[in-house]
Amino acid sequence: MTYIAKPKFHHPGLPKNELGYTHRDYEGKISTLCAGCGHDSITAAIIEACFQLSIEPHRVAKISGIGCSSKTPDYFLGNSHGFNSVHGRMPSVLTGANLANRDLIYLGVSGDGDSASIGFGQFAHSIRRGVNMTYIVENNGVYGLTKGQFSATADRGSKSKRGVVNSDNAIDLAAMALQLGASFVARSFSGDKTQLVPIVEAAIRHKGAAFIDVISPCVAFNNHAGSTKSFDYVREHNEAVNRLDIITGRAPIHIEQAPGTVQMVEQHDGTRLALRKLDADYDAHDRLAAMAFLQKHAAKGQVVTGLLYVDPEADDLHSHLNTVDAALNTLEAKDLCPGQSALDKINAALR
């Protein structure tokens, strides 16, 4: 929480994107979250990703539910559309908005409480329907707004700040998303923007349901010894399977020359993803293997991060339902009401 507004001055040498904006132009209001909250880093990553992709802010709709995470859309893209919905109902509101206007970029921001507890069903259905969206879960394993009770993603055996051991099994949202048919699944860490920013960019450019589980330490209630979602734990147990570079038409190619093979993945819109494998055995195109890999490493207490699965040929809900191309608000009466003769024809066919 900070009382003063962030000064408008910016560094005179800041780079500008294709639209002539600096990354400062993608900011929102100043965060009211606790100092050091991982969520603020994810906010910064989203700002950076939208800046890098030269996205026009008015082409974005950010939708959230309830919780610390769901407050964050106020802190980025101050000139975009937003809908702060009911607890756990972000996926439903997003699905509706997406059906009404497919031309916008949909950014669903949720937390582990919002998506893995009250909104678990909503989460599942939006993923299995293949809604074209970027679904980001800011996952800290606790209910921060109610003072740090375990959430459904807290690992079994991890300790609360007061020393209570969690006896429930954890929901792995990335594994769930894989199982539910998401066509883009990634996991990252708020403390590693070099990994997170390209993943957010790739997800935004992905057509279909893109799901990102971002481990985001809660500095107030879940950043202690015994937590499995602390800065130290995640840094020590981070098992990154790959590093991602995103190549759009214009952006120069920056691929680190490091050991490991580079796999190129081309998405629908021509964006190419350069996946530098860190784990030689990991194949980001194999859903079943990815699920097994996640389970195996979770059992060892490791946090698997990176782009876990991508289907570059994916389709979305609109293609499945064969809906009209235009946004619904652009349809005129004549498009919606074909007239008496058309109705007569239909009626005749049913006689």
Binding site: M1, T2, Y3, I4, A5, K6, P7, K8, F9, H10, H11, P12, G13, L14, R24, I30, S31, C34, A35, G36, C37, G38, D40, S41, T43, A44, S190, G191, K193, P217, V219, N223, F231, D232, R235
Partner: protein, 600 residues
């Protein structure tokens, strides 16, 4: 890079760009905050301690602080530091009770000071409270030197000079006015314990071109003419006046001429407009008074008729770079230009002159006939004799004279205490946290977006009628407050504690200026290219932490930091803190020399 040693006094001093640039190292942000609080007297006393003449400098300083001001790199214009100093002087309560009292018991040491200008007065100010018997000699009846005789009254009223020289004289100094020192040998024989020479650069440079002698009646040397005006000996000048020269004296000459009957006053300069030595604001003020500045014209001849000046002939030149890259002025080949005029004021430079210093008394002179002076101690080759101000290294300005005065006073005090003059005590440095609450600081960290405020001026018609009417009216308290709020508080330093950092990136994300980066360490040149925003200003340091848990380092580019404290507000562990850095430059006073000081 190695971790930055923030306990070296200079590191944070350099971050306070204004204070670092000030020859006397005035704690600028500290007094600007006091002005914002309405504590004008406190602000004045801070200035008085550092620069001795706040009211005078608040009107006339060459302000090296302002080009250095960080605000000028963040937006367009620096904070109006100089004019804020005047706000403190104008609105202070009576500060007389806060001045040191004359010492009841002198220490028996006598110091003679030659010249009653800023350098000598600064030395006397520092030495008198320590018990020294200081005697100041000046050719003029009143103290002040060039501040009184060469700066026009419409820029610096006598009342301000009287007040601030008075504070010094009242310390129990003997001022001997109307006495010109003719022989250093004689002065040395009068058994003083030390002698300080602060006699300025009193001679205006001549312009020896044809016609100079014949038309001498209407050709005046700028500084002599200005002091003659100042003393009331001259009160008229011809209708058409040409001022030759492009420095601040030329600007004073032309504006004075405008007030003494000069209807058509021109400044004509050899060099281009940008290369002129005059401060930009002085050129502006002159042009505002309808005085054109003509450039690239070299005076060739004074024309005259029957012993009366009729004008000046100029050769047109252009600037050409030679193969070594030096700029030379070469004739364009166009026909010479003749400007008619009734009077000419020559302000083409000042020179030192020491005909009164005998060359056989141990004071060595260099090949330019300037005394050999140690720039650190201000000592000449005669251990008893010290120099300062324009007399030491040629014409500079008041604030340099004050800085020299402090250094010379320290040297004299050390010498007469039997200590080594070359050993200079370290400055006293204090660094203290400004944290008052989770996001409360003892300074106002909300950055003002205001542009620089203009100082109100007296109506031109009125100002040009009265040579004593001060042109600048100064900020009123409200304008002063608003201008003070533009200061970025660069003395409130961002201090980083490596061992507390958990690398959560909160500071990186919040920093409005993208100053902070966490990255792998490297050589400075390489690091500068790898930061969140490129660190291209090589005059500004990088602040590098020790190695963090992830093997990275924190690198902060000091260049455009707003000192808004948001990094510290957003830091969950207090790894960042905002700490006020105060540096107390070593002046001559008793305790400083006994105890060795350690920095921060």
């Amino acid at each position: 890079m190695k971790p930055t040693n923030i306990s070296a006094p200079d590191y944070f001093h350099k971050v306070v760009d204004c204070q670092w640039a000030c020859p006397a190292h005035t704690p600028v942000p500290e007094y600007i905050r006091l002005i914002a609080e309405g504590r004008y007297g406190d602000a004045y006393m801070i200035n008085w301690k550092s620069n001795v003449f706040p009211g005078i400098l608040g009107r006339t300083c060459d302000r090296p602080c302002e080009p250095a001001c960080r605000r000028g790199r963040v937006e367009k214009d620096p904070v109006a530091i100089c004019r804020l100093k005047r706000v403190a002087a104008d609105y202070k309560e009576d500060v007389k009770p806060r001045m040191p009292k004359p010492v009841a018991r002198k220490n028996g040491k006598r110091v003679a000071l030659v010249g009653g200008g800023p350098a000598s007065l600064a030395v006397a100010r520092d030495l008198a409270p320590l018990g020294y018997q200081c005697t100041v000699f000046d050719q003029d009846p009143q103290a002040g030197g060039m501040m009184r005789t060469q700066i026009p009254k419409f820029r610096l009223p006598d009342s301000v000079i009287d007040e601030e020289c008075g504070y010094i004289i009242d310390l129990g100094i003997e001022f001997v006015g109307g006495k010109r020192i003719d022989s250093m040998k004689k002065l040395l024989s009068e058994n003083y314990d030390a002698i300080f020479v602060g006699s300025g650069a009193p001679r205006g440079r001549e312009l020896e071109i044809p016609g100079r002698k014949e038309a001498a009646k209407n050709i005046h040397i700028g500084i002599d003419w200005l002091s003659s005006v100042s003393f009331g000996h001259t009160s008229k000048i011809g209708k058409r006046v040409i001022v030759l020269g492009g420095g601040n004296t030329a600007m004073d000459c032309c504006r004075t001429a405008r007030r003494l009957g000069g209807d058509e006053v021109k400044v004509i300069v050899r060099s281009g407009f940008e290369e002129m030595k005059a401060s930009p604001w002085e050129k502006e003020d002159a042009m505002h008074e309808d005085i054109p500045i003509l450039n690239m014209l070299v005076p060739k001849e004074f024309t005259h008729d029957n012993g009366k000046l009729t004008g000046v002939v100029f050769e047109k030149v252009k600037a050409v770079r030679d193969d070594k890259g030096r700029r030379n002025l070469v004739p364009t080949g166009e026909p010479d230009q003749h400007f008619e005029c009734d009077d000419v004021l020559v302000a083409v430079g000042q020179e030192n002159a020491f005909p009164w210093i005998e060359r056989d008394i141990g004071i060595e002179f260099d090949k330019w006939d300037m005394p050999k002076v140690d720039p650190k101690t201000m000592a000449s080759t005669n251990p008893m004799v010290f120099f300062g101000g324009d007399a030491a290294f040629g014409p500079k300005n008041i604030i340099w004279a004050v800085a020299h005065g402090h250094d010379a006073a320290l040297s004299i005090h050390k010498m007469l205490s039997g200590e080594d003059v070359n050993e200079r005590p370290l400055p006293d440095v204090q660094v203290s946290s400004q944290k008052m609450g989770i996001h409360e600081w003892s300074y106002d960290n909300d950055i003002s977006a205001d542009k620089r405020f203009r100082v109100p001026h007296r109506d031109k018609v009125v100002a040009l009628k009265d040579i004593k009417a001060e042109v600048e009216l100064g900020f009123d308290p409200k304008l002063g407050f608003n201008e003070a709020q533009r200061c970025l508080n660069c003395d409130v330093q961002t201090v980083f504690a490596t061992q507390l950092c958990i690398e959560c990136d909160a500071c990186v994300d919040i920093c409005p200026m993208d100053c902070i980066t966490f990255t792998e360490n490297g050589e400075e040149a390489d690091l500068r290219t790898r930061l969140k925003a490129p660190a291209k200003n090589l005059t500004q340091d990088l602040y590098v932490s020790e190695t963090l848990k992830t093997g990275r380092v924190m690198v902060k580019d000091e260049d455009v930091c707003l000192h808004c404290g948001l990094c510290a507000e957003r830091c969950p562990t207090g790894a960042w803190d905002m700490q006020k850095y105060l540096i107390d430059m070593t002046h001559a006073n008793s305790p400083c020399q006994q105890q060795a000081r350690s920095a921060a």
